[in-house]
Symmetry: C4
Subunit: 233 residues, 4 copies
């Protein structure tokens, strides 16, 4: 069932490793079939280069396994919370990619200091609050999803496809699992650029709003003129 989705999710997980976003088994990618309401996700603790499309697990909106022999990623409840709250997204990536994780550990947003950032993220990448003790002990992974959704109360997940969970690392999404991987690659690049730019000069101001807006609209929305078609997958 859902062989194409499982293959796309398998490829997204493999690409996470190939693009250097994960080491060991610290990361996972998922995708959703909105019609059936089923989510395909990485099995927990399995090596990326040993994984096959058949190992990808299908779960229902409550996280119960519908198809697959392996246990799904322990982060599954976080993915499900995001799919529920953000109806426009089709794929999610979680990784401990170094530069983004550094901002998450420092509990700071990633400032928008250049056009590389503006091409992908319409403003500073936000950071959640730290989870409280009761939240961690009750239902940790589901509560992680809730603090992300809480942080997006006034944000558009279409224009800002990433978040940093304080003390943990980034969650990144897109319209497809592949777009989520690409956004995760872009996030890691802009985080590393921001780290070093603020290092070189801690007082560098953020990019002027008129350039941020111009660059984001070059690539996204109805007037986009970057790439070969206006209709991305």
């Amino acid at each position: 069932m859902l062989d194409k989705l499982r293959r796309d999710v398998w490829k997204a997980n493999r690409d996470l490793a190939r693009r250097g976003l994960v080491v060991l088994t610290f990361g996972n990618a998922s995708g959703i079939d909105r019609k059936r309401g089923l989510v395909a996700i990485k099995p927990s603790g399995v090596e990326y280069d040993e994984m096959k499309p058949a190992d990808i697990v299908l779960v229902d909106p409550r996280g119960r396994v519908v198809e697959g022999k392996l246990r799904p990623s322990s982060d599954t409840p976080t993915h499900l919370a995001l799919y529920r709250a953000f109806p426009g997204i089709g794929g999610i990536v979680h990784a401990h990619s170094p530069a983004a994780t550094i901002f998450a550990q420092a509990r700071r947003p990633i400032p928008c200091l250049g056009t590389t950032h503006a091409d992908h993220f319409a403003g500073p990448v936000p950071v959640t609050r730290m989870l409280r003790k009761a939240e961690v002990e009750a239902d940790y992974e589901a509560e992680t999803g809730k603090v992300i959704v809480e942080r997006f109360a006034k944000l558009d997940p279409g224009a800002m496809p990433a978040v940093l969970v304080a003390g943990h690392g980034p969650f990144v999404w897109g319209r497809t699992p592949d777009e989520a991987v690409r956004n995760a690659v872009a996030l890691e690049l802009v985080a590393s650029l921001a780290l070093a730019t603020r290092h070189l000069d801690p007082r560098v101001p953020e990019l002027p709003a008129y350039i941020l807006s111009k660059h984001h609209k070059r690539k996204h929305g109805p007037k986009a003129y970057y790439g070969q078609t206006k209709e991305k997958p």
Copy 2:
């Protein structure tokens, strides 16, 4: 038409990715045929390892497509402005290579702190002013070319084959697309060295002028004695 130029430009684009100067599709290389006045450039938003020589687009000096099925890079007007203003150059590279982009984001020139820098760039690598709101909204990519040319009013693009666009990233050139790629590799290296050197000691002075001049002339100009021939391509 212009098959050799297109192949050279294709190779330059592919080398950008192979040498680690670009991630995803953040970068482009072009070349010019001065006799016909045509520019060969990367198609917009296409993956480097999927690109074929036939995908390279030929445009006229106004940016109209002369040959090719794909849309040219959205940065084409910037390339055209540089070819118009700098008649001695034959290839241009734009990348978001990390260390050079960090200086661009910090809106600072790259100081010449060592002979690696002097071998390629006859002084600090300059940074443009930030584009104004009206410039960004009117004709962004062409105005980007204009601020570069404005910055070079008193500079020789032959002795200084690179510039940083403030808040954006580097543009680099050479007599051929391949030389532009090599200069972009050198720029990235000297930017990363300068970052870390100033980090280790913020007061390190620039290289004395007599060493800068000696190293640059060892490789460039009529008395060059580096390499196998005085006539480079």
Copy 3:
């Protein structure tokens, strides 16, 4: 004799190089057969990609060669001291991996600033005291083992599978040689994250104890629910 152990140790040494934890010959891995009391360890000064399983040396608890034509690693007495003091471990890795070595050279523990750390190490990774002159001159490698054991007087080597030897570098262990390699990879990652996080903000506090505990127990101990089985090798 002990062909499987020797093959596991050979693989662990090769993986050290493949995962970028060692350059030249700066590192070694070993494994123990608890029943026979024999330790399999890398030969001294041999290149990783030239090593064969047959080159792995078997030594007894006093370090005398039982099988093998080559001289064992000069760090053998340190490995033996750890196997003696920590009966639950089955494999040890020593490397000069950069980020962990930087903390060792700075003589500072690696603070726990995020969940990546908590997943593997139940608190800050400790650093030994500097060896004294008499210790260095008498029996250097055995004394290195002793200062590690001294540092673990109140620590559980099962929950904290790594230590930094002051001015030197990390020793890392696990239930198997392969688990020791994985812990060494995790150590290098969390050390590099901690370095850069403290760089971005020197006052970042450590991860709250309730998150540290939750993440560590997700992966380890009787209530672990990460991965496919509770019984790891």
Copy 4:
């Protein structure tokens, strides 16, 4: 003539590129036949992966080409000055490897902060004074050799097989071209460790002399017990 030496020097140059010590053509390796007084060295400005053993140039002590169709490296006079002053060395490497070049640009010695350093270099790696204007303009490359030799007036080139030329980069040597490459790899590693260690804590003291001495003697000299034989090549 001297086919083995040329092959060793060719391999050393190729290894410089394979080990990531050089980009583009910024580096060269040489070797000497002490009996014949001939030096084999990289040709100037040639790509590492296109070079063949037959391209290696043989020069006499005055730098005149004895065999080979290509022009020798422009740094040849520096190599010759070192072979003349340091009779115990058999191979020399010059590279612009990043971390060592950063110290050279900052005009600072590399402090000995750990045992990785002590294993290869018996103390801080020294830096020359900056060349004077008259020296640069008269006979630049030969004068570069002279300031290195001047800096070693009270140093033993056997115990300290590397130097930083101020504002330029490292020269490294060994008993063979291969040992020079290995020492250059070690130099780059210890330079990067020292950079980051001082970054983490600017007041970290140097390694105590008794540990420095112990580690160096473990690997070098009559009482060495590291590796498989006391007689290294």
